[in-house]
């Protein structure tokens, strides 16, 4: 063996390591800032948001009717998320059109499929703006996708509301980007608090999706919150969404015998992880975030009453919450689509209604005026809670903890931002 061969070998290893670390960190160039290291404080977040400029003018919107663009994963790995989003928006649009439209004009929606591919997300957002000449954009669900589509909306000055992307970096991309859901530092705080105070859990292992900005963010914020509450993190391991074998990670986790496992991934992998955990004899509760919130979660775990029974996740709302606005929404949604709406359907419905209210308030089909009206949304009565858009473009809202029982997700407790101020809002936000 000559030294040249060794050198070549070393270089190859270095390249592969770097490449895999890059793709796993960002999931596309736009996401680079999201899961990366380096603490960003609230004022830096604001500075970044306000520094982004509108660089190009988008084609003039249609003035006879209101054209809204929606981008979502309709056929990819997370397609139940896209389907719920489409249904939620559709319900809101049908309602508003029946009531005479917005500013007396009918609302038309254009749906585009991202297939959970960041490049595809960039393409369809560009298409919505340039070819469909949409007035505003709603989307995406997954943070990695919103981080891909967001810069394009900002660049053209088209207001974008993400119904359900929770990674903080999404709204840092510019002042035309908003969301109507809470953010990951809060969501992971909620689960940390629930595990520490309600379940009295002391030692937790984490298993996160290495290719998702959402999952990585949650894993990081959870560690921080849980340690502050005096808990111990036994292991932090990761997986990739196309994996079908999680036993090696779970075997390592099992060796340290934690009281619970935090798995902030998406439903497709979580079901199988739960199964393999139980097959390895791990009996402790599993916990996660709103990425679990899909009718497919229980099916993937082997059916009702099997591997995922009794596990907990944080979500945006509970369909069995007796509050009248929730029950009315659940009834309408069931009548229209024949299913119980998950959190993502409710958020999409709220996102569309916040947008309609803003257009009404702006009084004209002008994108800058609509942006200002969205930014000034105060105490909007949404299905998922009262929505006030703060200076970060985020919504200050409460979260619920749900438990899997049979085929249903049952309301356990509600945790509000007031109790979380010390941890999530005033704290240094990554």
């Amino acid at each position: 063996m000559t030294w040249r061969k060794w050198l070549l070998w070393l270089i190859a290893v270095a390249i592969i390591m770097t490449l895999s670390a890059c793709t796993s960190r960002s999931g596309g160039s736009a996401g680079g800032a999201a899961g990366g290291s380096g603490t960003v404080n609230p004022s830096a977040r604001l500075a970044k948001r306000n520094a982004a400029k509108v660089e190009q003018s988008a084609p003039e919107p249609d003035q006879d009717r209101i054209v809204i663009g929606v981008y979502a994963d309709l056929t990819g790995d997370n397609s139940t998320f896209g389907e719920e989003t489409r249904n939620g928006v559709t319900l809101a649009v049908e309602e508003v059109n029946r009531a005479g439209g917005v500013l007396g004009k009918q609302v038309v929606v254009r749906f585009e499929d991202t297939r959970s591919d960041p490049q595809q997300a960039r393409n369809v957002v560009t298409k919505l703006i340039q070819q469909e000449r949409v007035l505003a954009v709603i989307g995406e669900v997954a943070s990695t996708m919103s981080l891909a589509g967001g810069p394009i909306c900002q660049q053209y000055g088209v207001p974008m509301i993400s119904p359900s992307s929770t990674n903080p970096a999404v709204t840092d991309q510019g002042n035309y980007i908003f969301r109507v859901c809470f953010t990951d530092p809060f969501q992971s705080y909620v689960m940390a608090k629930f595990l520490a105070e309600h379940l009295k859990v002391k030692r937790v292992a984490i298993l996160y999706d290495n290719s998702s900005d959402y999952s990585k963010g949650l894993a990081e914020f959870f560690q921080e919150s849980f340690r502050k509450m005096g808990g111990e993190i036994t292991d932090v391991l990761s997986y990739k969404p196309q994996d079908t074998d999680f036993r090696s990670q779970l075997t390592t986790i099992r060796a340290k015998n934690p009281d619970a496992i935090y798995i902030p991934g998406y439903y497709k992998s979580v079901g199988l992880i739960a199964r393999q955990a139980r097959e390895l004899g791990i009996k402790v509760p599993l916990a996660g975030g709103d990425g679990w919130s899909s009718p497919k979660l229980v099916e993937g775990a082997g059916g009702p009453g099997k591997a995922i029974e009794g596990c907990y996740f944080s979500d945006h709302y509970a369909p069995d919450d007796p509050a009248p606005q929730i029950q009315e929404f659940v009834k309408k949604y069931r009548q229209r689509f024949g299913q119980t709406p998950g959190g993502l359907a409710a958020l999409a419905y709220d996102a569309a209604r916040v947008l309609f209210a803003a257009i009404e308030k702006a009084g004209k089909l002008d994108r800058a005026a609509i942006r200002n009206a969205i930014a000034n949304t105060r105490n909007f009565p949404g299905v998922t809670g009262v929505i006030t858009i703060n200076e970060f473009g985020d919504a200050d809202k409460s979260a619920v903890v749900l438990q899997v029982r049979g085929n249903r997700f049952v309301f356990v407790t509600r945790i509000t931002p007031e109790t979380a101020t010390t941890a999530a809002s005033a704290r240094q936000v990554k």
Partner: protein, 303 residues
């Protein structure tokens, strides 16, 4: 790491390695005979898994209960038969017309075939993950937990591979296969039915991949999507090269080795994000140090 943890990781690795091996033998046999990489092979594996899901998610007029042993055997056999037909069709429609075309064209056709099958599955069945509605009991062997499904999968895969080895070494067809892979022109001159051997090779490889897919869906409970075959296909390709492409025991060894290495790396606290990267580094290392693979013979190119 404790001893029981290491033992558990070995079991985990051998089980996923057995699946890689089942797919890898298909790559390696086709390469041995046609000197081409059939990139659509991973999609055949996906089709096998889809058949398993179709069989268990519906009632099928109660012909057989899918939770009975006989029902499952029948289901896996059906998946193998469907995939076998698919493999033969792929060869007939896509590769046979290109028998004398330059290798690059065949390679690109194979990639096209892979996309075609993926997108067909997407159109026909949609993209939402589909899970076979069966769960398996766990047995404890010392400190090691193994699900019954895993055990069955492991035993079945090993018997499939043993059967293949017998077929290649002991039967007339196996001898014809070896002859074609040695020198197809000479074999043809000796009266070996060249085309029939190629079709047979595709059929066997596809049936094994189909069995692998069906068993992964049934015994592991992995959610099936149109891209289900992509990663396992790539990993199996790495296994085949690792063991020496064209060499059947090599593909089995490569698959098991890759599975065990992945399990050990995946369970390591700091290395776990690099699981896939390490698999590909391994490929590069083998290509650098032993270009013919672990069990492959170095062949001198005559110029």
């Amino acid at each position: 790491m404790e001893l029981s943890t290491i033992a558990q990781q070995l079991v985990n690795g051998i089980q996923s390695g057995a699946i890689y091996a089942l797919i890898a033998v298909g790559y390696t046999m086709v390469y041995g005979i046609l000197r081409m990489i059939n990139f659509a092979h991973g999609e055949v594996y996906m089709v096998g898994a889809l058949v398993a899901w179709l069989g268990t998610s519906r009632d099928w007029y109660g012909v057989v209960s899918h939770s009975s042993t006989g029902g499952l055997v029948l289901l896996i056999a059906t998946a193998m038969l469907v995939c076998m037909t698919l493999g033969v069709l792929i060869e007939r429609l896509a590769y046979r017309p290109l028998r004398h075309a330059p290798r690059l064209i065949v390679l690109i056709t194979a990639i096209g075939m892979s996309f075609l099958l993926q997108n067909l599955a997407l159109i026909l069945f949609g993209a939402d993950p589909k899970t076979v509605p069966l769960t398996w009991r766990t047995v404890q062997l010392g400190g090691i937990s193994v699900s019954l499904g895993q055990l069955v999968l492991l035993i079945a895969s090993l018997s499939f591979m043993a059967g293949l080895q017998l077929l290649v070494k002991r039967t007339q067809f196996g001898r014809a296969m070896r002859a074609v892979s040695e020198d197809f022109q000479a074999a043809a001159l000796m009266g070996v039915p060249y085309d029939r051997v190629i079709v047979g090779t595709f059929a066997i490889g596809a049936a094994l991949a189909g069995a692998g897919g069906a068993m992964t869906a049934i015994f592991v409970g992995a959610p099936v999507t149109p891209t289900f075959g992509f990663m396992p296909g790539v990993k199996a390709f790495v296994s085949a090269v690792l063991g020496g492409i064209g060499n059947i025991p090599g593909a089995v060894l490569g698959g098991l080795l890759l599975g065990v290495i992945e399990a050990l790396v995946g369970g390591h606290p700091t290395l776990s994000p690099f699981r896939d990267a390490i698999a590909f580094c391994l490929l590069i290392a083998v290509l650098l140090f032993r270009p013919a693979g672990l069990l492959g013979r170095a062949v001198q190119e005559k110029v």
